[in-house]
């Protein structure tokens, strides 16, 4: 009974059967919604999706904060304790832990503050209650196991590594003035095409002698290829810098440049090019394509180096493998059908005028698998089906090609 004597509605319960390791043992657990609620781990949107600014008050002593969802342009006014709670909502801490932190910080706790804040945040699309990726969901489900918890902690740690700066516009402007502008000239475009043709010719000639070329790796082909791949990651920085130069070329602003671990796993450089969406389609397409051309140019140069190197030497094998991986990166970056939103995908959706192509296509494919897809088949549905089929086939082919390449090198 509540203090007012009004009976509160019963909280819902789920009865779940949890199987043991053997075939017959099981345990039935009743999980109340309240228990699930306090164990949930709310996660605010990524840092790039919101801005937080303090509002100095001339009347009250308590500071206020404006929280802006940069994607939906929605604003929320937060009190200082709400801002504190918001900062705790990182997807790692449960509501129980967040409430405890609040008590330790302020010495008191209002039981309505968290649900109230969460409702506000959910309405402003600033909060999710589940970890983002499938991997993270699986880890979250098995968090009780020590090993899983360690992996999850490691991923969170890596994800938090973010070396970035938001004051990079002057750097990119200087880089553009000191020669970056040359990249966007007709002469460079022609040189790029000629280099690509020369690289293609060199690549074809190397391919004919592939067996001899890979022998140059000697006794450790696997580790040599791993080194090639690591060296390749360094060139991702050049890819992103060219994107940034394209922004300057079209008089737009580079908002951020940095290094992070994507999803806590993939080390990568990134540049915030969102300002280009205020430019025209040509600007957007050039910005998208120019970064990928870095790999075409580097790959061509590597192929030419490999062709000039002595047959069967380590230099030749290393250069040929580097050329191959650069050209793969070029193709992958511009190829839109691979479920990854890379440069080519952005060009495609821009041209088609379907900004949520991947999300819509995956949702439709899921509905088809569940037998819940609508019966009529329009052009839009054909586009989604085509996207999913092409992407699936492409990824399969890409993996098969790389496996074949490594096996061939190893043998």
């Amino acid at each position: 009974m509540s203090p007012e004597g009004v009976e509160q509605p019963r909280r819902a319960k789920l009865e779940l059967l949890v199987r043991g390791d053997d075939d017959e043992s099981f345990e039935v657990r009743q999980i109340g919604s309240a228990a699930a609620f306090i164990q949930s781990r709310p996660q605010r949107v990524p840092d790039a999706a919101f801005e937080l600014a303090e509002v100095a008050s001339r009347i009250g002593p308590q500071p206020r904060f404006i929280l802006k969802n940069t994607r939906t342009e929605r604003f929320l006014l937060l009190s200082e304790p709400e801002k504190f709670l918001w900062e705790q909502m990182d997807g790692r801490r449960s509501l129980q832990e967040i409430a405890t932190a609040h008590v330790l910080r302020y010495g008191e706790f209002d039981f309505d503050i968290i649900p109230g804040l969460m409702r506000k945040l959910q309405r402003a699309q600033l909060l999710t209650l589940t970890p983002g990726s499938r991997l993270r969901q699986a880890l979250a489900r098995n968090r009780r196991r020590q090993m899983v918890k360690m992996v999850e902690t490691a991923l969170f740690g890596l994800e938090r590594i973010n070396l970035s700066s938001r004051n990079v516009q002057p750097f990119f402007r200087r880089l553009y003035r000191w020669g970056g502008f040359l990249l966007f000239s007709r002469v460079t475009a022609v040189a790029c095409v000629l280099l690509a043709i020369a690289g293609l010719v060199a690549g074809v000639r190397l391919w004919r002698e592939a067996d001899e070329v890979v022998k140059g790796f000697g006794a450790h082909p696997f580790w040599a290829i791993v080194t090639v791949k690591l060296l390749f990651w360094a060139t991702i920085a050049a890819h992103q810098i060219v994107h940034g130069l394209a922004l300057v070329h079209y008089r737009r602003r580079v908002r951020e440049f940095g290094f992070t671990f994507l999803h806590g796993l993939v080390p990568t450089f990134y540049v915030d090019v969102t300002d280009i969406f205020m430019g025209g389609r040509k600007a957007r397409v050039v910005t998208a394509v120019s970064g990928a051309l870095v790999h075409l140019v580097l790959g061509s140069i590597w192929f030419l180096v490999a062709l000039r190197s002595p047959l069967g030497s380590f230099t030749q094998a290393f250069a040929a493998a580097s050329g191959m991986i650069q050209w793969q990166a070029f193709a992958l970056a511009l190829y839109p059908f691979c479920f990854i939103e890379m440069d080519g995908y952005h060009v495609l959706v821009d041209v088609l005028g379907v900004p949520t192509l991947k999300q819509d296509a995956l949702a439709y494919a899921g509905a088809c698998l569940r037998g819940a897809a609508p019966r009529r088949f329009t052009r839009e549905e054909a586009l989604w089906v085509g996207y999913v089929l092409l992407s699936t086939a492409s990824i399969g082919a890409f993996i098969a090609f790389n496996v074949w390449l490594v096996l061939r090198a190893a043998s």
Binding site: A12, K13, E24, A36, R119, Q122, L129
Partner: protein, 166 residues
């Protein structure tokens, strides 16, 4: 091994057979098979083929449906006098849920052939059986609706999602 009189007394008390006269109940009792399960034993799993109805004579079984990994949602518990598995008796579709003994269990098994015999030899008894079956179906349909509502409410409460004002 229970005697025929014990079986008749048990069947007479089971709501599925309440409307059936003693002589016909004796005949039906003769065509039922007995089956025992030890605690924890799985009778059948979701997706298995099946065409039998089971009547619980002793013990409790738990009916569950897979949710994720090793976790299943408990749909119902069935105790003495109650029955389960009736859907497969009619639609020949794979089992829709997993059934496992929560304690040592004794079951009586009614298969399609026994039901056909009952329908052929005693249409009045068969009509009483089907009427009782429909009543239980309705009861279970209502219970399913309640379960869906409960699960939905659970989800809303567990996530703190405020639908009314969003």
């Amino acid at each position: 091994m229970p005697s025929a009189a014990d079986t008749r007394a048990f069947l007479g008390g089971a709501r599925l057979f309440r409307g059936i006269a003693p002589p016909e109940l004796d005949a039906l009792g003769g065509s039922l098979r007995e089956r025992g399960l030890r605690k924890g034993q799985v009778l059948f799993r979701e997706g298995d083929p099946g065409e039998e109805l089971f009547l619980v004579q002793r013990g409790t079984i738990v009916i569950s449906k897979g949710v994720t990994g090793r976790v299943e949602q408990v749909l119902a518990r069935i105790g003495p006098g109650d029955f389960f598995g009736e859907m497969a008796l009619f639609d020949r579709a794979p089992r829709s849920a997993t059934v496992q003994a929560e304690s040592d269990v004794t079951l009586l098994v009614l298969d399609r052939a026994a039901l056909a015999r009952l329908t052929e030899q005693s249409p009045r008894a068969a009509a009483a059986f089907f009427e009782a079956l429909v009543r239980v179906f309705i009861e279970r349909l209502r219970a399913s609706g309640d379960l869906v509502a409960e699960v939905t409410r659970w989800g809303l409460e567990a996530t703190g999602l405020d639908i009314e004002s969003s």
